[in-house]
């Protein structure tokens, strides 16, 4: 068996499987062992049903032997954030509230992956109900950064990023509401993409903020991310907000990239608060694109400073309503102590939700309340439109924008816990893409002096995923950041 199987990309694994050098069962056994070996340190997994994984791997090997492969991902394990439903598997959202919930249905992305032969591999840790930027808000465990085990993996999809970075799984899915894929990808030194709102079905994704949530892939290469996106993208009649628009062939685009591109650099992203080492690293990446013949333009995003405020109004408003269903009456945590129906609500929710979730529910309830709606929610929606217009205006002159993914590298666990505002600022560069509904990708672009990964964020036009993948891929091909792995 080849060395370091656990760090191979999907592309590599596909040729090993095709050449008969490994079987899917061997690959999955190796990854189960790897997870056993490293996850006690990283805590990326909430659960892993090894028996089920191996049964699926065996079925895939059988299909391969019979020449009945379902697609390129057949036999490839994929980790799923514990917010995406897989029929018969726990779906905890890293919350006490859903600790014992097992959905009887697949999310559309889970169904598509299964139909492509991919093997769901574990339930990955996250901030409770996807609310957070460090995976410290998980009710079960903090996920640690594979590059430095006293630091956070980022969040909210910290488990999805860390599992890929640590070599426990080659690719995974996360969800991104304000940066929850891109920021942990940047912290853990992997590639992570948030597609355009409506590109991937949200059916079966437990809702945090419905108008912002989007599922997207993590991988150790841009090509792997392109392959996973290919298999999950497209219109879904079960999600009215998914868009009927043909899905291009993403992996093929990487074979014949069209460049050089016109790239914008929004100056507001490089002002105060940006870590100097991160700034230098991003500047180097920008210079590289310029050297390749790309035209670099400075862009203005005048409403960028409002993005965090707008986000925490819209997201919490939607969350306050989305999370109302967890009341102890049907399937969620039910308090043993309650005296009547109202008391059941109070106690079940008090016991089931963590601090950050409660904070956001209260905030969201407040901004929607009679007398405050116009001043907060309605105003936030108007500014949201302005932010989108800023992007659309920029895209009249450039193909994509280059920015840092996060203003800083991974921070120490506990460092920002006591200060929610400081924590919220770690999403300052990612949030506006969700507000505008545009796609974004984070690709590794270097390390700081402490050998902590730094991510370059590329933001694209609506449905411009092909451009983003090609732009990111050209950078990745010319550098070796993605092929560096943490020493665990």
């Amino acid at each position: 068996m080849p060395d370091n199987l656990h760090f191979k990309t999907v592309t590599d694994l596909q040729s090993l499987l095709a050449g008969g050098e490994i079987s899917s069962v061997e690959l999955c056994r190796e990854l189960i062992d790897r997870k056993e070996a490293v996850d006690s340190k990283i805590q990326a997994f909430n659960s892993l049903d090894a028996e089920n994984v191996l049964a699926n791997a065996e079925a895939s090997d059988q299909r391969r032997a019979n020449g009945e492969l379902r697609g390129p991902l057949d036999g490839i394990p994929i980790g799923l954030k514990d917010v995406i439903a897989v029929s018969g598997s726990p779906l905890t959202c890293s919350s006490r509230m859903l600790e014992n919930f097992v959905p009887p249905y697949d999310a559309t992305v889970s169904r598509k992956l299964k139909e492509a032969g991919a093997i769901p591999f574990g339930r990955l840790n996250m901030d409770e109900f996807a609310m957070g930027s460090s995976t410290e808000n998980s009710a079960f465990n903090t996920t640690f950064n594979p590059w430095s085990s006293d630091r956070v993996a980022g969040g909210s999809s910290g488990g999805s990023a860390a599992a890929v970075s640590a070599g426990s799984v080659p690719v995974s899915l996360g969800s991104d509401t304000g940066g929850s894929i891109r920021q942990p990808a940047s912290f853990c030194g992997v590639v992570g993409m948030k597609p355009t709102y409506g590109r991937v079905s949200r059916f079966g994704l437990v809702a945090y903020a419905s108008s912002l949530d989007q599922i997207g892939p993590f991988g150790r290469s841009v090509a792997d991310v392109a392959q996973v996106l290919q298999s999950i993208a497209g219109h879904d009649p079960k999600d009215s907000t998914s868009i009927e628009k043909a899905v291009p062939g993403y992996p093929e685009i990487l074979q014949n990239p069209i460049g050089p591109w016109k790239l914008g650099v929004p100056k507001e992203y490089f002002e105060e608060g940006l870590d100097p080492e991160v700034k230098a690293c991003i500047q180097k990446a920008i210079d590289w694109y310029a050297d390749q013949g790309c035209e670099i333009q400075e862009i203005q995003m005048p409403n960028m400073d409002l993005a965090i405020a707008v986000y925490y109004i819209i997201a919490t408003a939607e969350a306050s309503s989305n999370l109302a269903r967890y009341d102890g009456v049907r399937y969620s945590h039910r308090s043993e102590q309650s005296e009547d129906a109202i008391d059941l609500y109070f106690k079940s929710r008090a016991e089931g939700f963590g601090e950050e979730v409660k904070r956001r529910i209260i905030l969201g309830t407040y901004v929607l309340s009679s007398g405050y709606y116009d001043a907060y929610y309605l105003r936030a929606q108007k500014i949201r439109t302005l932010i989108r217009e800023d992007f659309m205006k920029a895209y009249e002159s450039v193909d994509a924008l280059l920015t840092p993914t996060s203003p800083f590298v991974s921070f120490r666990a506990g460092e920002k816990n006591e200060d929610p505002l400081a924590m919220y600022l770690s999403d300052i560069f990612t949030i506006s893409a969700n507000l505008a509904g545009i796609p974004g990708i984070s690709v590794p672009c270097g390390f700081n002096s402490e050998n902590l990964p730094i991510g370059l964020q590329i933001l694209g036009k609506p449905f411009g995923e092909s451009d983003l993948l090609a732009i990111a891929n050209s950078f990745e091909q010319a550098h070796d950041f993605s092929s560096q792995h943490p020493d665990l």
Binding site: P103, R202, A209, D239, S240, T241, S320, S321, S369, Y373
Partner: protein, 484 residues
């Protein structure tokens, strides 16, 4: 001091559709609890609503029946409140862009007696919007159970302006609304099955005062007459309170049908802040000209328009139309039969006086019986053509036709009921009757023309009813004249 009342009604009507409003699960009543559910109905994590087009289409149809303005763009909002019958603890409803705005409903007030038509009026509507129904709680001694079968049934909320002035008007409005829903094939509006529910807002003010009085909402009324009774009680309660020097507070009251009183439920301050906001899971719906046109082609004639037409075209009296009009199926049956024999009044009389009572006796609906419009038309034709008498039709043909489903002409043929018009055959019989009854003949000769009926009866008896009564009348008169 004189007081006057103002009433506004909020009526919920379940829209009949194949499936629920936001998922493909079917709708129904009386099924095993929690069988008409799926992850969407139960609000499971990650489940998303997908709009049922049929529900929107039927709501547009209702809007057209109500003569509302149909919105070009309509959207969905979340109404947030916690209650165990609400699976998501928000209800998907419509806040500021309902499907239907404005509109009016023609009502008919009760007449001075059952046989006399009452005044017609138009009641202005505020709006009608579509939303999802909630589940049903069943309370027991020690616990409560919830059945989500009803949850997600499309529900149309139709709101009037506060323009109804009496409990009778409210009663008439609910009846008129129910007729419209039945005509549009929207709902049977059976209040006992929860297909129609009604809340009332009522206030009183001294005559002459400009501002409306303090508004009280009444809930828990389970029938149309229950609404009337509750309003009668509540208006009187409010007037007596004011007359006694008391004051009214804005509150919600419940109707207790067994005690015939309203009782306090909650004050306005205790009401929910629903925190409406647009549902991010659903896109707004555009209702274009084309779609409107297709639906408007399916709008039936409204009940009171039909009533007027029956009077104008067929001279049908209120005693007849009041029976026909509420039942569109019966009206169509009538129109088919009337058209086939061109005798609308006779057809209407047969339906109202004979057919409906037979149906009632057997507990059948029209569609369950063997009688078609062709049967009634055929029967009327036989009478009009003088083939059988009305009496024979009633006594010998109708019952047989109702039981066997045979066509009336075939029954007449088989039973040999054909009326006799043969003067040669009838004359000796008439003569015999005259000879045998000198008393009545004498009376006729003295000027009591009515006495002829006795003689006629004797002739009919002798011919077992088959003689043409008009002919017998003519012949008897001629024979008596000759005698005189």
């Amino acid at each position: 001091m004189e007081y006057e009342a103002f009433i506004g009604l909020e009526v919920h009507v379940q829209v009949r559709t194949q499936s629920k409003i936001f998922t493909s699960v079917g709708v129904g009543f009386g099924c095993e609890p929690n069988t008409l559910t799926d992850p969407v109905v139960l609000g499971f994590p990650g489940a998303l609503p997908v709009l049922n087009k049929e529900a929107v289409e039927k709501s547009i149809k209702v809007g057209m029946l109500l003569q509302s303005t149909i919105s070009e763009v309509t959207k969905w909002d979340r109404k947030n409140y916690f209650y165990p019958d609400s699976p998501k603890n928000y209800q998907i409803s419509q806040f500021d862009q309902p499907i239907c705005e404005g509109g009016k409903v023609e009502i008919e007030l009760p007449g001075p007696s059952r046989n006399v038509m009452g005044e017609h009026k138009w009641i202005e509507l505020t709006r009608a919007h579509l939303e999802e129904d909630v589940g049903k709680l069943n309370h027991f001694d020690n616990d409560s159970l919830v059945d989500y079968n009803r949850a997600g049934t499309p529900l149309l909320e139709i709101v009037t302006e506060p323009v109804l002035r009496t409990p009778d008007e409210a009663w008439a409005y609910l009846n008129a609304l129910r007729m419209l829903m039945v005509y549009g094939d929207i709902s049977d509006c059976d209040m006992e099955k929860g297909q129609m529910r009604c809340d009332a807002n009522v206030s009183v003010r001294p005559v002459g005062q400009e501002d409306l009085g303090v508004k009280v909402e009444i809930k828990n009324m389970n029938s149309i007459s229950g609404v009337r009774n509750a309003l009668v009680y509540e208006i009187e309660r409010q007037i007596q309170t004011l007359k006694g020097g008391g004051s009214l507070v804005q509150e919600t009251r419940g109707w207790d049908a067994s005690k015939n009183v309203t009782y306090h439920m909650r004050f306005k301050e205790e009401s929910h802040d629903y925190r409406y906001f647009p549902d991010p899971d659903l896109m707004p719906v555009r209702i274009d000209e084309d779609w409107r046109g297709r639906i408007s082609a399916t709008i039936p004639e409204r009940p009171y328009d039909r009533q007027r037409r029956y009077y104008d075209d067929f001279k049908l009296p209120f005693t007849i139309t009041s029976v026909l009009i509420p039942d569109p199926g019966l009206c169509e049956f009538f129109e088919e039969a009337a058209e086939a024999c061109n005798k609308p009044q006779q057809v209407a009389n047969w339906i109202v006086n004979n057919l409906l009572s037979e149906l009632g006796n057997d507990g059948l609906s029209l569609s369950e019986s063997k009688i078609t419009s062709a049967h009634i038309a055929g029967l009327v034709k036989l009478i009009e053509e003088g083939v059988i008498s009305k009496n024979i039709a009633k006594e010998e043909v109708f019952g047989e036709m109702f039981t066997s489903g045979e066509m009336p002409a075939a029954i007449v043929e088989a039973k040999g009921l054909k009326q006799s018009n043969d003067t040669g055959e009838l004359e000796p019989i008439c003569q015999k009757v005259i000879d045998a009854n000198p008393g009545p003949v004498e009376e006729i000769l003295c000027g009591n023309e009515k006495a002829i009926n006795f003689l006629k009866g004797q002739v009919m008896k002798a011919t077992r009813g088959k003689a043409n009564p008009a002919l017998v009348d003519q012949m008897l008169k001629a024979l008596i004249d000759k005698k005189g």
